[in-house]
């Protein structure tokens, strides 16, 4: 819901001092959970997402197994203290939908058919929410999957783009997200150019939308470099 009269851009700068097409400071850390097969922590400004991957492992109860392929399960959750008003830890409609689109965003990069009867579980916890949490979760999951040694066709890189005060911007923070005219969540397999997450709401002309998608694609390339960076770092030290 747009509150009237809120100025989110002054003299070309956003409320956190960024330019329109500038990503927030990002931090990525790999293998942050010792009991997981792969894990990662991603910070987009104040947004903090942790992802942990377990599997491929045998799937129980057995009736859930698929004889021809493995399955991917994703669970997106927000910690009760991650937002202004305490959030109940139980899944709500929003987190159920995000869990589904996260699975579909990550699925196309895996070779699940090579692991029949197994499951790969991805658990995402948002520790602090300040906008763009689902894409932060996908970025973390992508490097966690890689770190777990799951064979992958490509990394998955994700970011949000949107329109605030009539300006097209990249990587919306919480305040911008709540007052945006439109926002788009986007994930891509960067070297295959395949879009695996695309959700939009708000009001945009087709031209604005296409411009935003190109912005999102370019930003994902930058994010992909960061992801590759932490992965290289890991294997250098081993």
């Amino acid at each position: 819901m747009i509150k009237k009269g809120i100025k989110l851009i002054k003299n070309g700068k956003r409320i956190d001092g960024r330019l329109a097409k500038q990503l927030r400071d990002m931090e990525m850390k790999i293998d942050v959970i010792s009991t997981a097969d792969g894990s990662a922590k991603v910070k987009f400004g104040n947004t903090i997402a942790i992802a942990s991957v377990r599997g491929p492992r045998a799937l129980f109860p057995r009736h859930l197994q698929e004889s021809q392929t493995g399955i991917l399960r994703c669970k997106y959750a927000m910690a009760p203290f991650s937002v202004d008003e305490r959030k109940s830890p139980a899944p709500n409609r929003r987190s159920i939908e995000i869990s589904k689109v996260t699975r579909l965003a990550l699925g196309p990069t895996t070779f699940l058919e090579d692991f029949p009867k197994t499951v790969i579980d991805v658990f995402i916890e948002i520790i602090q929410a300040d906008g763009s949490t689902r894409v932060a979760g996908i970025n973390a999951s992508s490097i966690a999957l890689t770190s777990a040694g799951v064979p992958m066709r490509d990394l998955v890189s994700a970011c949000s783009v949107g329109k605030i005060n009539g300006t097209l911007v990249v990587d919306l923070n919480g305040e911008e997200d709540n007052n945006s005219e439109a926002d788009v969540a986007f994930a891509i397999l960067p070297s295959k150019d395949e879009v695996t997450l695309l959700q939009m709401d708000g009001l945009l002309t087709k031209d604005e939308l296409i411009e935003l998608l190109n912005l999102a694609k370019d930003s994902c390339k930058k994010i992909c470099e960061l992801q590759k960076g932490v992965l290289r770092e890991k294997y250098k030290s081993e």
Binding site: M1, K100, L104, T196, L197, M200, L203, T205
Partner: protein
Amino acid sequence: MEELYSLELIKNGKRIDGRKFDEFRKIEIEKNIVQKAEGSALVRLGKTEVIAGVKLGIGEPFPDTPKDGILMVHAEFSPLASPEFESGPPGEDAVELSRVVDRGIRESKCIELDKLCIIPKEKVWIISIDICIINHQGNLLDASALASLIALLNTKIPKLKNDEIIRGEFESKLPVVFKPINVAVGKIGNTLLIDPNLEEEKILESKLSVALREDNKICAMQKQGIKGIEFKNIEKMIDLAIEKSKEIRKLVK
């Protein structure tokens, strides 16, 4: 088996029911089919059948929008409609469908929510759209969005006496000012198609659902399906959705 046959046909440029790739199934619309609801509609897309009902109630507004009415969308996938549906609380597909329909309506600003205030900060109208799937033969999303819109366009606001609702007597029409139309574009290989039936839905690689207003502004999108969409194809899918939305809008009154 029908899925494999359908896939084989699509590779040869045909569809299992003989339609063109950009052709909807026969669309049938019935308005005001439930007298107890403030607004209702039944939509058939071929054999797919969906009923949307609108109920109006009174409740407290959200603190950040003290003068605005509230919109809620809920969908039920009952085993009545398909052997694939199970009893119990809404699963992720039902949740996703209701949220995508919700975004199309909400973001298009088709309902003037600011005209639905009774007492600021205390009482506003709550619009509940409930989507009941009667028969699932594919493309539930387009059918549900269309049924919801037509139900809203025919919704009447009940009379109030001492801030209590008098059921069965009406004050005015619900202020609906835009007509958002949802068009889901499916993709198999390089073939784009609309209004997939059940067999086609099972073999679709990906789907892009686009909600459009009459000024051609895009108000909601959702990518679905198990495969990614090549970046260059997204614009083609949006163009097809824009074109087809005009055709559907002509049926909406």
